[in-house]
Structure formats: C-alpha cells, structure tokens
Symmetry: C2
Subunit: 384 residues, 2 copies
C-alpha cells in the first residue's frame, strides 16, 4: 500500500485543505497584539453569513461540547423546564449536560435514523406551557439525520416563549442555516466538520432575546461565560488566550468559502449526499434514513447481510480509508460516511469505487462499478 496516503471519510474531524494547513504554519503571534486584533476583526464579516446572522459569532477554544454546555449554563436558569429533542447520541448529550445542572428535562425521543416531526413539537408546546428552552440537533452525527430546524424555529416561536438552542456542530458551513430568519436563539458549531479546520475551536452565535435571558442568569461560570466572549469580541479580542494557529486557519478557510460561494458549497454537499445515497441504493444496500431526513454532510448505511465493522476493517487495512461505525445501539449495525468540508464529488466517486472493491473482498456479491455509475449519473445531471 502506498505509504502516507489516506482517506478520512468520517463525520468529522474532516480533512484539512492545503492552504489552511499552510496558513496554520505562520509564526506564532501575541494574543494581545494588533495582529490578533486584526485577525479577529477580519473574521467576523465572513463568519456571520455562514451562521445566517447579524450577530457576532463568538469563538471559544475547546471541543464542540464546551459550546453546548455554555448554552446550557448561560441561557437556562436552575429549575427551568426545557424540552430536549433527542434524535441520536448528540441530542442525548444535551440531556446529559442539562441533567448536571438541576434542569427540569422533558425529552422528546425520536427513533434513531428518523427526523423529528415538527407537528409533535407543536402539540407538545401547546400542552406544556412554561418551557423555557428547546434544544435540538441540526445534523445528528450519529445517524446522518438533518432535523427540520427552520420549521421547528417557526413553531417554537409561535407556540411558546422558549429559547431555541441548536447544535449545528456537524453541518454549519455545509447546509443553509438562517439563524435570524429561522428564529434560532443560540446556534453552536465546531471547527472540525464542514468548516474544514482541525478540532479545537467552537462557535456560538446568540440572539438578542437570548442575551436578555443570559444577562439575568447568575449561574456560576467563568471559562464558558458567553458575556465575557461577547464583551471582549467588541474590542476584537478574547477573554482567554485563543488557539491562535487555528484562528490563522479559520481566516483562510473563510477565504476558501468565499472563493467557492456559500450557495455553491451547500449545493456541493447536497450533491455528495445524493451521489452517496444513489450509489448504495444501486448496490442494493439499505440506507438508514429516508431521503427527507437525510443530511448533506453524513450518510448512514445499514446493511442487512454483512457486518459493517468487517467492511470498515478491510477499508482501513487495505486502502487506508476510514469510515465511521455506529454508536450506542447502532454499534455494528451501521457504518457512516462523512462527506463534509474539504471533500468533493470526485472524492465521493473514489470512496464508492473503493467500497465496491472492499465489498467483494468481504464476499458481498455486488456488481463492480454499479454504485460508482449511479453516483456518476447524479454528478452528470448536476443533481443537487
């Protein structure tokens, strides 16, 4: 096998573009120097449209979970009733965080692999007044489901006074989101998914409505205190030493998104999703999600006649191609392909054609090239 040749097709971390790598190679600078101020200042105008907001996008150093927790500790008062929509492992993470903080949790569970039904949330909110916040996962990484955030936002605003808090870690940058227009109050993301950076930065954009709630909250917090980040960002700085090399990369990543165009990036992600789904359909291997619930950034496949972990082992060992397995009760039942960030339709053709070979190696009698051809047809038709 050719050394130093690898394919990372998991739902994050995702591959790093060469120009982002080069940008991160800049010599270190002082975090309180003018250079860092200029950097932070120049980042905001390009970052806001990706979140679909006029608000500043707060930048914290840490994992995505740090931002998820910051939303909980800043925007939910002790004793508040909240509704957590759980469509997979990351919805469950919101539950775990809320459970730490003496919050009255109502959980709305949806079968893994399905998206939440907005009508059910409407009914719930009508029958349960006094919900202070609704938590939802935009793309549920564990299943490849994209939840209908736009409709949820409308319903929540119409039928409650709850804040709408959205985990967009595994899709912001890869799918359209209009935080302000869709009535999202806190939108979280992370650097290592569709945003084409290494892990280590996490983002939170906060609505005016949410700031009003946050300012009245006296729950203790220091590192995760969002007001500190907001106030310092107004002076183009951060409350704590930021991950400077990742900021260099962030700046360059924003250039790449500008070069491609945000709409074009969204279309590319939809196309990669359609190519992947069409390929497995053509191969006769079942998908976990319906077309309607499918995410443009991650596809979960649920084979009915082979062990996905055996396929993953062959892919890894013989091609250095990494795809993800299933989590929790879907462990050894599904495998997941990440097609987000620095990943193109051409990469999907390669991924599918490798998988076809590997399927034959594990004894699954597929017609070689049939999945690839299905993906090629989507590509030729421009279908996104």
């Amino acid at each position: 096998m050719l050394p130093d040749h690898q394919f990372l097709r998991i739902p994050g971390p995702s591959p790093i573009p060469p120009s982002v790598q080069r940008a991160m190679n800049q010599p270190m600078i002082g975090h309180r120097d003018q250079e860092t101020k200029h950097l932070l200042h120049s980042i905001q105008p390009a970052l806001k449209p990706i979140f679909g907001t006029k608000q500043n996008v707060l930048i914290m150093s840490g994992s995505g979970t740090a931002s998820l927790e910051s939303a909980v500790v800043n925007a939910v008062h002790p004793g508040d009733k909240v509704l957590v929509i759980v469509t997979g492992a990351f919805g469950d993470r919101f539950v775990q965080i809320c459970a730490e903080y003496q919050i009255a949790i109502n959980r709305h569970d949806v079968e893994w692999g399905e998206a939440v039904e907005p009508g059910a949330i409407k009914d719930y909110l009508k029958n349960h007044p006094g919900i202070k916040a609704v938590f939802a996962t935009f793309c549920e990484t564990s299943t490849g489901v994209l939840n209908p955030i736009q409709e949820l936002g409308q319903i929540i605003r119409q039928h409650s006074d709850a804040l709408f808090i959205v985990d967009g870690v595994s899709c912001v940058g890869g799918v359209e989101v209009k935080m302000d227009a869709w009535a999202i109050d806190i939108l979280i993301s992370g650097s290592q998914k569709a945003l084409m950076l290494p892990p280590g930065l996490t983002f939170a954009a906060v609505s005016e409505r949410a700031w009003k709630v946050i300012e009245k909250n006296d729950r203790p917090s220091f590192y995760l205190d969002l007001t500190k980040y907001r106030d310092q960002l107004e002076n183009d700085t951060t409350p704590f030493t930021p991950a400077v090399s990742l900021l260099f990369g962030l700046k360059q990543m924003l250039e790449l998104i500008e070069q491609e165009g945000l709409e074009e990036a969204f279309a590319r992600h939809r196309q990669m999703m359609n190519m992947t789904r069409s390929a497995f359909r053509s191969l006769g291997i079942p998908l976990l999600t319906s077309d309607k619930a499918a995410s443009p950034t991650t596809t979960a496949i649920r084979p009915d006649d082979f062990d996905p972990d055996i396929l993953r082992n062959v892919l890894k060992k013989e091609f250095n191609l990494t795809v993800a397995g299933g989590q929790k009760h879907l462990k050894s039942k599904i495998f997941r392909i990440g097609h987000m960030g620095y990943c193109s339709p051409a990469d999907i053709l390669q991924t599918i054609s490798i998988i076809e070979v590997a399927l034959r190696k594990i004894g699954k009698q597929v017609e070689l090239g049939s999945g690839t051809r299905a993906a090629q047809e989507i590509l030729l038709s421009g279908g996104s």
Copy 2:
C-alpha cells in the same frame, strides 16, 4: 525591514519549533481511531516527568483558564474555605474563579514583583484551621516572579489538610517541578509557554488525595469534569474531540525535550534568565524582582527614566520584536521579556543587542554592547 522576520519575546504564546510545525501538518485523523489512541498512549510516559508525577497528565482542549476553573469546580465544594495566594494578575484570576462559585475566599496578597514568604503561609494556616485548598501561582506571568512552590508544598502538608493547587501555566517545562515529591495536589499547565506549542491545549495532573475529594464533589460540571478525562485516558482516549493537530505537535515537542534532556532545558532557562538580568543590570536599568524571586521564564524590567511602552513601540516598529507591557497597576511601568520554550541563549544575545539599539533611539544613553557583553559573560561562564 526584512519582511516575514519577527521575534516573539513575550511570556507566551512562545515561538513554535519548525519540527513541531511540521508535525502539526500531518493529515487529520479520526479522534476515535487507533492512530489517536497510539498517540495519546505514547504521550503520557514523556509528559509525566515534566510534571514530576507518576499520575497521568490529563489533556483538555482550551485555554489555561479552563484548567484553572476545572481545579476549582472539581476539587472545592460549595462553601469550602480556601486560601488564595495572590502575587499578580494570575493569582487574582484564581480569586475571580472562586468568587463565581460561592467559595469562602481568604486572599493573601503579596506586593506585585515579590514572591510569597512561606513563613507567612505557615502562620496563616496555623491560625486558620479548616482551609480546604491553597491556590498558588508558580510563575506569576504578570511580574516574572517564581514562587517557592516546593517550600509551600511542605508547609501546607505539615500544617493543614488543604489540597495544594498550583497554576504552572507559564513555567512547567522550563523549571523543575516535582509534583509528587513536593506535595502538589493539582498542577495545571498550558501548551503555549515553555511547552513550545500553539495555545489550545491545557493540562492537569491530579494527586490521589485530590481524586478522593473530587469523587465526593457533586458540583455540576460537564466539559471541565476531570473524572471524565481520567476515565477516558485510561483507555487512551478523551471524553470530547481533542485538538488533534496540537496533539501531533505535543508528541514532537516531547521528542525535542527528550533530545535536549529535561535538566538541560531547565539549565537553559536559568541561563537565559541570568543573561537577561545581568544585561539590564549592566545597562543600569532596574529589574522588577529580586534574584531570589526571579523566574527562569520571564523577566520584568522597571525603568526609572523612560516610558517602557515607547521602547516597546520602537522594538515592534523597527525590528518586529515583540515584548510585553505591564498589566493592571504596572501598566506603562514595566516591560516583560519572555525567555521560554523555543528560545536559546543566542536568541537572548540578539534580543539584548536589539534593545540596546532601540534604547539609544528613544534617547536613553546606554553604552552600546555593554548589556550584550554582560550576557555573553554569563554564557561563557556557563552560569545557570
């Protein structure tokens, strides 16, 4: 001025070695893959001696403050009485964090520029039984003071049952520390100082005694919950997606420390301190701290006949040499030179000789070369 040529001599972030930069350029890998497990596994044996401990060194993604806060939320129960030794801005940060968390704070203030007197802490502990934790800053970045942590550890263990919690962010890797032998219970550090990495990783090593306290603490925390990091590290993984590119760098940084030798690295830092101090003495420009209180990683200079910020401006504009100013009430009264991490005695000669030129440019009549000569003499004598 030669473009793309800069000198970063602040007390962190510090410059990045080329081989560490190259290491961070590796293609991204999955954070749950074997590669990451091997990486985390291989890091521990080399990291522990730097902290002087047999404990695992927990690795979090975030700023140093995240680890400082983790020590507070994990190891101090609500209502506990603590003693915070404040010798500058970072001692004060411990006070701010404790103040968020309903902790009964006793602060022991020391004049900025001086180290704490261990005898005073002994007396305090004798007269104030029931102190549950003592917080101290090892190197106080804001003044260039190195506090006598070894003696403090002895005194605290002898005269109390308090946990000893030490902020070693700006010196671990540059000065000797024996966490286990010195009776330190939690030792914190950060990636961007003597450890030669970009900011974005922070470290916490925890004693058996401290784990016993932590396990009984039910204060809410999720991202900063140290038991999560401990438990996952036993399986060579992390509870949340780590800053993978910085882990690549960390591994290479540890190789560099092994190549040099830890004792040799400590000696180099002492030598750089002695060279810097001798140079300013010879130039007749006062130092902020006494020899006894001086840190091997940072030197603060307190000029009595020129504005340090004017000097800093000339250094930045004409040489692209960055040194730090003063913080809080020492603003515009001192400047600080960082000599830590990827910085050699030869770099100190260059720094001093540039500063001599800049001093003449701002009208300070120093004898050119006299500071450099004093530093050279230290270097020739091998004095560390």
